[in-house]
């Protein structure tokens, strides 16, 4: 539904050329929930704005539903208003001089042919119901809470039945509880409408919990595309691994390939059973990615002994730093564990949770 071909955008500063988008190609199938995630300055918002036609790009093409909407080389640029998109903005951008109804009715009033009044009223009502604001149509927009404004913005983006829904960090201005609630609601609404969504965020929990497909961006390039579970558990690069969550990187060497993606790696912790992509072969230098939650402490009969060098008690868990020889590891432990600094403790890496990537 959304197709980006070799998309490129750069600014020329006094000293150098800065690539904001550096040759991105993407194909987002109809009905999917696609998330672009990355640190600030990675080019994710710019990519979204290029899709929306709010910014121009220098090279490549943008296609929506098979139609080329932007192709600088071919002289094609369809303005934002004619792209058939719905968009939710970070600031919500709810027009304060209109009430909720007028905000949501606006896209319908721009449609050609323009629906009649009754039809507009019906569809606005329907859409407000969908986002759970059916009772608030006549309320001035300024009287709404942040969460409600967010829902109005969503209704406004959906009411015209656009081809694609673009969302630019829509939850970053909400408090934590509301954000979790909205994550679920936006996902449900997207699924029930069946619209293709392109969602930009820097929050990895949003990316993992909402998307069918996630793309991790860095320096204007896509580091990795995959399902949320692949992104977190089988990252393609060290950057993707570290951006998606805390991890321990254990240098080592692949010693043996087993069936079904399994392998054995020799590390400072001894031989560890891990998984590795099919193109990696024994003898290769690797880094093992071990998430803190994939290590357990205090097991009886552990082969490895660690010494607690630091800990932070966080209530629902304890964040440990332990040392095995010279190798330090972060470990998330159950708060019931009562090992103090300096204690010797057994350590196990949960089998099959470690993931090998080629050493840098």
């Amino acid at each position: 539904m959304i197709r980006l071909e070799a998309l490129d955008k750069s600014y020329r500063t006094r000293r150098r050329q800065l690539h904001v988008i550096d040759g991105i190609s993407l194909d987002i199938p109809e009905g999917s929930f696609f998330t672009l995630v990355g640190p600030s300055g990675s080019g994710k918002t710019t990519t979204l704005r290029v899709v929306a036609g709010l910014e121009r790009h220098d090279g490549g093409r943008v296609l929506l539903g098979g139609q080329v909407v932007s192709d600088p080389a071919g002289g094609v640029f369809v303005p934002t208003s004619d792209r058939g998109i719905g968009m939710v903005f970070q600031s919500y951008a709810i027009w304060p001089h209109m009430d909720v109804f007028s905000n949501v009715a606006y896209p319908l009033q721009q449609a050609r042919p323009r629906p009649d009044k009754a039809e507009i009223a019906r569809r606005v009502g329907e859409t407000l119901e969908l986002v759970g604001l059916g009772h608030l149509a006549q309320v001035p927009a300024t009287a709404l809470s942040g969460g409600q404004q967010q829902r109005v913005a969503l209704a406004r983006a959906l009411v015209g039945r656009p081809r694609v829904l673009l969302l630019d960090e829509p939850l970053s201005n909400l408090d934590a509880q509301l954000r979790e609630r909205m994550r679920i609601d936006i996902r449900d609404i997207q699924r029930s409408v069946g619209i293709t969504a392109l969602y930009v965020t820097h929050d990895r929990a949003e990316a993992l919990s909402m998307a069918t497909t996630v793309a991790v961006m860095n320096h204007g390039k896509i580091e990795m595309i995959g399902a949320p579970r692949d992104i977190y558990e089988r990252p393609a690069s060290r950057f993707a691994a570290e951006f998606m969550g805390p991890c321990n990187l254990l240098p080592g060497k692949l010693t043996e390939r087993l069936h079904g993606g399994w392998a054995v790696a020799a590390t400072a912790l001894g031989d560890l059973a891990c998984r590795a992509s099919a193109d990696m072969s024994p003898g290769q230098s690797v880094e093992l990615i071990v998430r803190p939650e994939d290590v357990s402490l205090g097991g009886a009969g552990s082969a490895i002994t660690a010494r607690v060098s630091n800990l932070a008690y966080l209530g629902d868990r304890i964040d440990y730093v332990v040392a095995v020889g010279a190798q330090e590891l972060r470990v998330l432990a159950h708060p019931g564990l009562a090992a103090e600094i300096g204690a010797e403790i057994g350590l196990d890496v949960l089998p099959g949770r470690a993931w090998a990537i080629p050493a840098a």
Binding site: S81, S91, A93, W95, Q110, R156
Partner: protein, 551 residues
């Protein structure tokens, strides 16, 4: 060739309109300066003007006058703005409001009032202080007198600009200096002043430009004292001398034009750089207070004393004269009357002038706000190539002295039916004050989040629907504030009407001047009170709508 976008058309339209408004008077001026009775192209006018010792004397006077006013007004403005924004002086929070008081008094009336106060013949202060200082101690009809009065009425401008800069200067910078052991004045010298340099330069340039084109003070005070400045000379050459010497006036105009372009360029270069100063962040900080110590009370007294002197006393005197409680030369009378007001409202010529003034102020302000809205949208909101040219063009009239602009307009339009009507005045007002309108409207537009407008595009609306249904309503308070300020400015404008109006297109200030010339001080005062009274509600409106810029 790519299709031109709607925004592109808007830019093109604005460029044509503004370009014509700026280019036609300028080009006409240049052409007139190069023409003579016999030849199509000649340098006769230049030879005549530049060869005269009088020219160099009056150019010197003009520059010296502007420079002196800039230094005095800038220093006073900075010091008092600093007192109001930064120190623990009592009643400091009221200062930015109180400074609007003298702003209510148009420079024309300011000049007249100070003639009442300091004229050597029957000046009020001279009379009161005669036992102490001897008769006619002050002489308003002098170079220092001119600088003095011009300073008084540019002071609010410089105060407001400095105050706005100071409250956006992070006080932590000063606090860090205080923590490091520096006292109030050491901190001022080492931290505040250096951080304010860009603001200082830009305000100084601004004041200098205002000084160069000053007309009211130069006319009421300088001319009787035979002190001539460029604006006055241009006026005399076109409207006073017979036969008029448009060629010579145009040469002065070209000189002013070149100077104006340089000054405007400098001003913009400085204000553009201001953004790079991290200290000036654009948000207002909660201000810490620096202890003034023993100077606390004197500082406040000096400020409010000054306000009394330039804002309150003149208005009181005018009011007294207008209701005939005071006769001029100064004498108290027991019987108030409204005769003066009745006269200015019933006299035929006067009434026609008042109607003209109202039409000009109302329509002129609408025209400028409308054009400003379009130009501001293109320059602030789009990234079209050519928008900076538009921005520069629209700002250029700021540097044109009114009399010079008027000569260009006269020469360009003398053959058209517009000449000698109020429409030529409307045109001149619109060109001259476009920069003021643009500044206010741009500021209003900058406050509106970009996504407000993008949401409309995303909803399928084109540019003009977006402008009408989203930008216009959101900008409305800012537009109304800009309109109010322009209304005030147009009502009090003197230098353009004196150049451009005829008996049929007279305005309030022209009537006021004629009554002054005829010694009818009661009528003068009534006009003054009417002007001030009509300005007050609009000033309050603009203030209330927020961020009242400086007209």
């Amino acid at each position: 060739m790519k299709r031109v976008s709607p925004a592109g058309w808007l830019l093109l339209g604005c460029l044509l309109l503004v370009g014509a408004a700026v280019a036609i008077p300028s080009v006409t001026l240049i052409r007139e300066s190069l023409s003579s009775a016999k030849l199509a192209w000649s340098l006769v006018n230049y030879a005549k003007v530049l060869g005269a010792a009088r020219t160099w004397r009056l150019l010197g006077t003009t520059v010296l006058f502007s420079a002196a006013m800039t230094v005095v007004s800038g220093t006073l403005g900075f010091l008092f703005a600093w007192v109001a924004a930064r120190t623990d002086a009592p009643w400091r929070r009221l200062m930015p409001l109180a400074v609007l008081l003298p702003y209510l008094v148009p420079p024309t009336l300011g000049a007249i009032c100070w003639i009442f106060f300091l004229s050597p013949r029957n000046g009020l202060f001279n009379a009161w202080l005669a036992p102490l200082l001897g008769p006619a101690f002050f002489n308003i009809y002098s170079f220092p007198g001119m600088v003095f009065v011009e300073t008084l009425y540019t002071f609010p401008l410089s105060f407001m600009f400095f105050y706005a800069s100071l409250i956006t200067l992070n006080p932590a910078l000063e606090e860090a200096s205080a923590v490091s052991g520096a006292g109030t004045f050491a901190t001022f010298r080492a931290v505040t002043l250096p951080a304010m340099w860009p603001a200082v330069f830009s305000v100084a340039t601004l004041l200098f430009i205002v000084g160069l084109e000053s007309f009211d003070v130069a006319w009421f005070i300088g001319y009787p004292a035979k002190i001539f400045t460029l604006s006055i000379e241009v006026f005399l050459l076109t409207r006073y001398d017979y036969p008029p010497d448009i060629g010579a006036a145009a040469v002065f105009g070209v000189i002013a034009l070149v100077a104006a372009m340089g000054m405007v360029w400098a001003y913009r270069a400085i204000t553009r750089d201001q953004g790079r100063f991290v200290a000036i962040s654009g948000r207002a900080y909660r201000q810490g207070t620096l202890a003034l110590g023993r100077l606390r009370v004197p500082a406040t007294m000096a400020f409010y004393g000054l306000m009394l002197l330039i804002g309150v006393l003149p208005v009181l005197l005018l009011f007294g004269i207008s209701i005939e409680v005071v006769a001029w030369p100064f004498r108290l009378r027991p019987t108030p009357s409204l005769n003066n007001f009745v006269w200015i409202l019933t006299d035929d010529a006067s009434r026609a002038a008042l109607i003209n003034t109202a039409i000009l102020a109302l329509l002129g302000a609408v025209a400028v706000v409308a054009i400003s809205f379009a130009v501001a949208y293109v320059t602030v909101r789009t990234e079209l190539r050519g928008r900076s040219v538009l921005d520069y063009l629209a700002f250029l009239p700021f540097g044109f002295p009114s009399t010079v602009l008027a000569v260009g307009i006269i020469a360009a339009l003398i053959q058209t039916p517009l000449y000698n009507t109020i429409w030529i005045l409307l045109l001149a007002f619109a060109v001259k004050f476009l920069p003021y309108g643009l500044r206010n409207v741009s500021n209003a537009m900058l406050q509106i989040h970009r996504e407000m407008e993008e949401a409309s595009f995303a909803a399928g609306a084109g540019l003009f629907t977006t402008l009408r249904r989203v930008m216009l309503p959101l900008c409305a308070p800012g537009l109304l504030a800009a309109w109010s300020l322009l209304f005030i400015v147009f009502g009090r404008q003197f230098s353009l009407p004196i150049m451009l109006s005829s008996t049929d297109s007279s305005v309030l200030t022209i009537q006021l001047f004629q009554e002054f010339d005829g010694g009818q001080m009661g009528h003068v005062a009534a006009y003054g009170i009417l002007l001030i009274g009509c300005s007050l509600p609009f000033l309050i409106l603009a203030r209330w709508l927020g961020r009242a810029g400086v007209g």
